[in-house]
Each structure stands twice: as C-alpha cells, then as structure tokens.
C-alpha cells in the first residue's frame, strides 16, 4: 500500500512537470523579455492563481481583472524585478496584495468601516474542494468543510495555502506577510482545533479505512 502510494506520487510529479526548468532560470529568461518563458509562467500558475483569487474574492470579474492586471504589470516591469526564489510564492503574494487592495477600494465605496485596517482574506472552503475517497459522499465532504470553516481567517488561510495549494510554510509566510514562526503557530492552533472535532475524525477515519 505504502509502496503503491509512493509510485502514485512519483507519477504525479512527473506528469505535471513535463520538462522541469528551475524557477531561477525561467525567471531570468522572463526578465530578459523571453515571451515563451512568460507564457510558461502564465500557464503553469494561472489555474492555481485563478482558484486562489476566486476563493478570496467571490466576484469573478474582479478576480479575473486583478490577475490580468498583475500579469500585465509583471510583463511591463520585468526589467526592474528582483530575484524570485519561488515564482509561485511571488505571484501568490502579489495577487493577494492586489486583491485585498481592490476589495478595499470596492468596499470603501459602500461602507466606511474600521475593519479596513485589519483586512484579511476570508477564504471559505466549499464541499467541492474537499477530497474524499468515496467521491459521491456529499455528507462527508460537508463535515470536513464545516470543520475547516470554523477556523479563524488567518488559520484558514494558512491551511489553505499550505495544504490546498501545497506551498511550504516558509513561502506561506512570505505570501501572508507574516513571519515563519507565526505561520507555524497558526497551523499548530488550527490542527489542534481540528483534532478535537470528533465528527471530523470519525468521518475521516471511516474514509481512511475504506
């Protein structure tokens, strides 16, 4: 079983990266104005960014626009960009900042709220996002979803970035603009809370046994 799992993992990584090119290399090409590199960066990251933007901002038009703005600005200012260790993390943090700014602007038109200063993305998990071995089981998905949505905004975001988008803690810290230790703390706290959720544990153990 373990062996099979590992094979599955290997296959997945091989499939998703047909010809692996280091981020640094790709980034340098892009900065020199290589359109193919730009295209590659775009197609490699667009689906995830799209997902992320949609999870933060429910308005499809706003999120699409923000991504377009970001890539367009990225291309025009490519010569002035620094070194990116991880392109994915760079794009996520840039997108996060832009979306929050945009949402602030939209909100400011509607209500003048104090919470603007402590504005955090509120990611809402949906049952569709949850992966359950028994695919049709909507009930199980809902239990997991409920458990996740009970977490605080920050905890949800850490969980989302680390597990949904599979981004290492270090980069999660960069994206959220907080330090590494805080990310770990949020994650610890979140896992602790989830651990006391008996409904979740029951559902997951049933699913794991099958």
């Amino acid at each position: 079983m373990k062996f099979l799992n590992r094979i599955g993992q290997n296959l997945n990584t091989e499939l998703s990266e047909e010809s692996p090119m280091m981020d640094a290399e790709l980034w340098e090409l892009f900065k020199k104005g290589d359109e193919a590199a730009f295209k590659r960066i775009y197609f490699r990251n667009y689906p995830m960014l799209h997902q992320y933007a949609r999870n933060i901002c429910k308005d499809e038009h706003v999120s699409d626009d923000v991504i377009q703005d970001m890539f367009s600005d990225l291309w025009h200012s490519r010569r002035n960009l620094g070194v990116a260790v991880s392109i994915k993390a760079y794009l996520f943090s840039s997108l996060r900042r832009r979306i929050l700014l945009k949402m602030k602007q939209i909100r400011r038109k509607q209500v003048l709220a104090l919470e603007l200063f402590t504005f955090n993305p509120d990611i809402e998990f949906s049952p569709e996002m949850v992966l359950i071995r028994e695919e049709g089981n909507y009930f199980r998905r809902s239990i997991v979803k409920e458990a996740l949505n009970q977490l605080s905004k920050r905890q949800k975001e850490v969980i989302y970035l680390r597990f949904y988008q599979d981004i290492p803690y270090k980069e999660v810290a960069k994206i959220m603009g907080i330090n590494y230790q805080s990310v770990l703390n949020y994650c610890q706290k979140a896992l602790q809370i989830l651990r006391t959720n008996d409904a979740l544990l029951r559902v997951v153990s049933e699913d794991a046994i099958r």
Binding site: K2, N5, R6, Q9, K39, Y42, F43, Y46, P47, H50, Q51, D64, I67, Q68, F71, S72, W75, H76, E128, M129, V130, L131, V144, A147, I159, F163, Y164, P168, Y169, L184, C187, Q188, L191, Q192, L194, R195, L200, L201, V203, V204, S205, A208
Partner: protein, 335 residues
C-alpha cells in the same frame, strides 16, 4: 512544555510528509518515534487523521479559460506596450513631424522653381483622393490615391505622346493620327518600365513591383534600358519581379488588386500586398513583425473609402489585432 514541543512536531513539514508518505527519511523517523513513544499513540493517530483530512481537489479549471485569458492578456499587453512606446517618443516624434513639414515646404518651393521654366504639367493625388483627368489628346487617366502623373502641356509638336507615372493609374487612350498619317504612339514611363500603346484601356501600378494589366487592345512594354519587347494581350498582366525581370501571367489567375469604383477587388492576394496597397493609398506606415501573417491570402471585395472600416474588416477576417495611431498602423496576430 513537553506538550508544546509535541504540538510543534505534529505541525511540522516532516509530519505532513509522513502522513502523505512522501519522504522516506521522514517516514522512517516517525515510525521509529511512534514505537518509542507509545503513550502518545492516540494523539498521533488523531493528528494523522486531521492531516489526512487536509487533502483537496486541485480544482479543475477548464484549459480553455486559461487560454482565453491568455489571448486577452496578450492583446492587452501589446496595446499597452504600443501606447508606452508612443508616449516616450512623443517629443522626438513631434520634432520629426516638424522636420518633415519643413522638408515638404522646401520641396514644394523647389518644385515650384523647377517647373516654372518647364512646360511639364504635374498632377498629384493626395492620400484620400482620386482624380480623373484629360490628357492633351483627350485621352482619360484615372489617377489613384497618392499617385502622380507628368506630361507636357501640349503634344502637338511631338510624334510620341509621353506621360510619366508614379503610383497607380487607369488609362483610356484614344487613337490619334500624326502629321505623317500613321497613329501617334502613346508611352507611359514608370521607374522600371516603358509602356507603349496605340489606343487601348489598361492600368499601371508602380507600388511594390511595377505591373500592368490590360483590358482591351494591345500593349508593348520593355524594361528601361533594355531592348526586349513584351506584348500584352487583353486579360493578361505583366509584372516586374524582384529580380527585375518581366513576368507575364493571366489576369484572372494571378493575385491582383483592382481598385476602380471605390472598392478593391482582391483575388487571392496576400496580406502583404494589401498592406502595400494601404500604405500607398493612405500614406501610412504599416508595421507587421510577424512575417508569416503577411502570407495569408484574401479574396473578395472591400470598400476603401474609409480606412477604419477597411482595417476593421481585415481584423475580423484574418483574426488580427490592428492598432492605429496617427500615421502608423501596427498589425499583430492573436496567438
């Protein structure tokens, strides 16, 4: 204290790797650790389940959406890049415009003095102008946009009627008897060709390789400085190719842009030819970096009185992005 350390461990990347069976070293380490700490078995089991529950559907985004957004992005970036270039160059551009105006003025003054003592008549059409004029022998010339024709004021003393053409024109030449009783020859001089007729209807285009097409009668032509005479019959056309030789072909077979009546009729013409036509008709510069675009073929009729409409049609038909700005037109492919 110990609990705190344990919490930390259970949130570590190493533990996640163990749960998802990702890293052999982590798996071995944790299996060992669990053996050594049986008192935490329940906690570890719960933690495993929680991490295990944090698996998600990657969320499948239709590839078409990604591609669609990519096209939009490209079109947008190109338009923006173009706007940026223009604003940065606007100062220099204005200077060039001023310089060009000065040169134009100078040229006009020069031309005025040049022709003051010369009985040669010169007719020019502007960028959006077409003119039909009578020659001294009552023959008719329709001059297309941006073209010029020169001839002497009077042909009475000449044995040959001569005109000099730049651009594109359609001729209807009358037969005229000379003093000796024979027909007077009619000659059209272009940069590359001398076209020799007696009386007939034909059109001459010197934009992008001179070509002559014949409607009726008969036309003799030769390259300047050469003695070989080529004879053209109705329905044929002759073209000076890039190598400087005359090439004859049937009018209907070869690509041909005809422009009489305010429309152009394209017959399997490439975009490159259409661009040359637009450049000369409207006095514009058209840039197109993608060479393979230039080879795309077009047939059919298009109205040419309105440049914007013409460009819009091209944009639609060939799936292009066309940006127009002052005297410049840029053509891009939608990738």
């Amino acid at each position: 204290m110990l609990m705190k350390k344990l919490e930390k461990l259970l949130a570590s990347e190493s533990f996640v790797n163990y749960v998802h069976r990702r890293n052999q070293a982590d798996i071995t380490w944790w299996e060992q650790w669990i053996k050594e700490n049986p008192q935490h078995e329940e906690l570890v089991e719960r933690a495993t389940l929680v991490v295990y529950s944090l698996r998600f559907n990657p969320g499948v985004l239709d590839e078409r959406v990604t591609a669609e957004q990519w096209y939009k992005l490209q079109a947008r970036i190109r338009k923006e890049a173009y706007a940026v270039n223009n604003t940065t160059n606007s100062g220099r551009k204005q200077f060039y415009r001023f310089a060009a105006a000065c040169m134009g003025l100078l040229a006009l003054v020069g031309a005025y003095y040049l022709f003051w003592y010369n009985p040669k008549i010169i007719y020019e059409t502007g960028i959006a102008q077409k003119a039909t004029l009578k020659l001294p022998d009552d023959s008719e010339v329709t001059l297309n946009r941006n073209s010029a024709i020169q001839f002497l004021k009077s042909w009475e003393k000449d044995t040959v009627r001569q005109v000099w053409l730049q651009g594109e024109a359609y001729f209807k030449v009358n037969r005229e008897k000379g003093a000796d009783g024979g027909y007077k020859r009619f000659e059209v001089h272009t940069d590359q060709l001398i076209i020799d007729v007696v009386g007939t209807a034909f059109s001459v285009n010197t934009f992008g390789g001179d070509y002559v097409s014949l409607e009726s009668g008969r036309v003799d032509l030769r390259l300047k400085g050469m003695d070989d005479v080529y004879t053209l019959f109705p329905g044929q056309m002759a073209k000076v190719n890039d190598a400087g030789h005359i090439e004859m072909s049937e009018l209907k077979v070869g690509p041909h842009i005809s422009w009489v009546d305010g429309k152009i009729t394209l017959n399997d013409n490439s975009l490159g030819e259409v661009i040359t036509f637009i450049e000369h008709s409207y006095g514009l510069t058209v840039h197109c970096d993608e060479k393979d675009l230039l080879g795309r073929k077009l047939s059919g009729q298009m109205r040419i009185d309105n440049l914007d409409d013409l460009l819009a049609v091209l944009e639609k038909v060939l799936d292009l992005v066309i940006v127009k700005d002052h005297g410049n037109v840029k053509i891009f492919a939608i990738k």
